[in-house]
């Protein structure tokens, strides 16, 4: 879960990382007196706010008012700005870069430091890789102060500044550990004319799988890039307080006309690739796995299929190892399907394998005969990806029959 700048700074501040004095406002009335110099910073999850003109240094009240007015309600990469951070302006002497994040090469948290901050670290790295210093953190020992000093020294820092920066970075590591962060990035890490250090920006990403250890942290739901749809929020609710299997934890609404109920983290992306290749237009992406109970799949089925303009549906997965196919398809999918109004008459292609698959297929065939569903059922003998084309052909016939183009 990516945090807004002001939220990230709250966490940094709680472990003693110095951040500039500031406050968050949500409307013009809250602005009040804003004596300059003040920095007006639109709160958005996407990066490159500076380039988009969403951060401005204001000398007086009039400038601050104008800046807040300009950014409140504005859009940044699809996200509407609803909060603005007002911060004390600093007399900046130097800007550095510091980050702790997971690295898959060393399978460790990695400290990254660069003397040159305030700009895109990827660009600096591309031009001058030697300037970006790294130190993997062995969790048997944690980040040792000498490792931080060594990294800073290699970057060219010395004297009292080395001591001060080492202290700053050690506190960033404390934040990373304390809150189970995936990333703690401070860019720029500012040194003022007075010689003080401040985190002038903060990109903090929390590990969602560790949130149970941090019940005291309360951050509203968010989706980088855009506001979540009603269905996306509903789907997220399914897994809440029910750890049996994983259902709908990823659900994304898409503009197409084919409902997707995929199974398995890997298979679900294989089948989306196949759908793309075959030219089908998915109405959503979602996935369930880990032998979930029927009622969870039933809920997800209703979210996927309760859409007015569907012309087909694909219930698809690989050959399951331990997911009960009867439970997920009959107590889950079929039960959910029966509640959709108006009753879907479009083709539904089902491809699945695994425990109790034959039993499930028999029950589906019986339901189709009795209740008039247009099921097309395939077991593991038919390859998963080939059913994409089977479905798209059926959808095209259906659309023609309906006079749709």
């Amino acid at each position: 879960m990516k945090l807004y700048e002001h939220e990230g700074k709250q966490l940094l501040k709680s472990v003693g990382v110095p951040v500039p004095d500031g406050r968050v406002i949500g409307n013009m009335a809250e602005l009040g007196a804003a004596e300059g110099p003040v920095v007006v910073k639109a709160q958005a999850l996407a990066g490159k706010r500076g380039k988009a003109g969403l951060i401005s240094l204001c000398r007086d009240q009039a400038e601050a008012e104008a800046a807040v007015k300009r950014v409140l309600g504005a859009e940044h990469q699809g996200e509407k700005i609803v909060k603005v951070l007002l911060e004390q302006g600093l007399r900046i002497k130097e800007e550095h870069y510091a980050c702790i994040t997971y690295d898959t090469l060393t399978r460790s948290p990695l400290l990254i430091f660069c003397l040159q901050g305030g700009m895109d670290i990827e660009e600096v790295k591309a031009q001058n890789p030697g300037k970006v210093l790294t130190q993997p953190i062995d969790l048997n020992f944690g980040l040792q102060p000498w490792q931080v000093r060594q990294t800073l020294n290699q970057a060219g820092v010395s004297g009292m500044k080395l001591i001060k920066l080492a202290e700053f970075i050690t506190r960033m590591w404390a934040c990373f550990q304390k809150y189970d962060c995936r990333t703690v990035e401070v860019n720029p890490l500012v040194e003022t004319e007075e010689g003080d250090l401040f985190a002038c920006d903060a990109k903090v990403v929390l590990d969602e799988d560790a949130l149970y250890r941090h019940q005291d942290l309360e951050f509203p739901p968010r989706s980088p890039g855009r506001k979540q749809t009603e269905k996306e929020l509903q789907a997220k609710e399914i897994d809440k307080n029910d750890h049996r299997g994983s259902v709908g934890s990823t659900y994304i609404d898409l503009p197409g006309d084919i409902g997707i109920l995929a199974s398995g983290g890997g298979a679900s992306i294989v089948i989306m690739d196949a759908m793309l290749e075959a030219g089908g237009k998915p109405a959503n992406f979602t996935e369930y796995s880990g032998n979930p109970p029927g009622e969870k799949v039933e809920k997800l089925t209703k979210i996927v299929m309760d859409k007015p303009d569907l012309n087909g549906c694909w219930v698809v997965g690989g050959t399951a190892n331990f997911t009960d196919i009867y439970v997920t398809l009959i107590d889950g999918f079929l039960k959910g399907l029966r509640q959709i109004k108006p009753k879907p008459d479009y083709p539904i292609v089902i491809r699945r394998g695994g425990p109790r698959d034959e039993e499930a297929f028999k029950a589906l065939r019986e339901a189709a005969a009795k209740e008039g569903w247009d099921f097309h059922i395939y077991g593991r003998e038919t390859s998963m990806t080939s059913t994409a084309k089977i479905l798209i052909d059926l959808v095209n016939v259906y659309k023609k029959k309906k006079g749709l183009k």
């Binding site: 898959t104 048997n140 995936r182 398995g264 880990g290 593991r380 390859s383």
Partner: protein, 297 residues
Amino acid sequence: MAILVTEKTVACVQGITGKEGSKAAKQMRDYGTKVVAGVTPGKGGELVEGIPVYDTMEQARREHPQINATSIYVPPAGVKDAAFEAIANGVSLVHIFSEKVPIMDAAALYHFARLKGARVVGPSSIGILSPGKGKMGSIGGSNPAETFQKGHVGVISKSGGMVRELSWLLMKAGLGNTTAIGMGGDIIAGSTYTDYMELFEKDPETKAVVIFGEHGGTYEQQAAQMLKAKRFTKPLIALVAGKFAGTLPGSVQLGHAGAIIEGKWGTTESKIEELKNAGAHIAKIPDDISDLVKKFA
């Protein structure tokens, strides 16, 4: 031969008294694995499927000194503790089935295993299966023989469903596995493609290796680099999924925790490109696998 799970494997199941844990213990034994003990703190003295349950790993090992492998089926919050207990007590192969393990815990137990010379498979791993020898975990469910048979192909997959699907495609074409492994799709994996490739390289029975990868992370790139550096010399057949993810705006995680594209890192296209340049044989869809493997195995 096979890797990791062989005739010499003597297994324990941590969390054997839970629903999935007890099922797995039974399946493992039914498939020929020696499952001699279970560990669930507080439930020592019970029997699950006739298998004795102990309160601690130390006690289990005292009664059954031959235990050399464990499968962990405990809730995510207890995984790190269970894995540390196993490693500290000298268990050399630690398979973790549990999903949604905090990243910090996964990294910590990987580092501890490295320190102690143990091997971790997972978290979020469906298991390890060597046809004719046995299995650790839920891989293949209660009827592995439906989709796995003995042969000369090693399979390594981030996805548990796909390891079964790919092995099934091989079986349909008359091919089979030495060992099939679900490595898990988390950001930090206890063992990655290159760790397993090193073992397959040394296994005389394995003639080719199939890997299933996804967008996100760098493990596929590392496999490509190993191949390029000729530290792996057998044919490598790769299927990397996730093109669709690249068409979505922003950094959206699809399916597995590690399947997330951040910036330019970890796109499916870049992984395929690197693997191809390193000399891997690329499958576009699962159905391509058997034709690509046939020439070698």
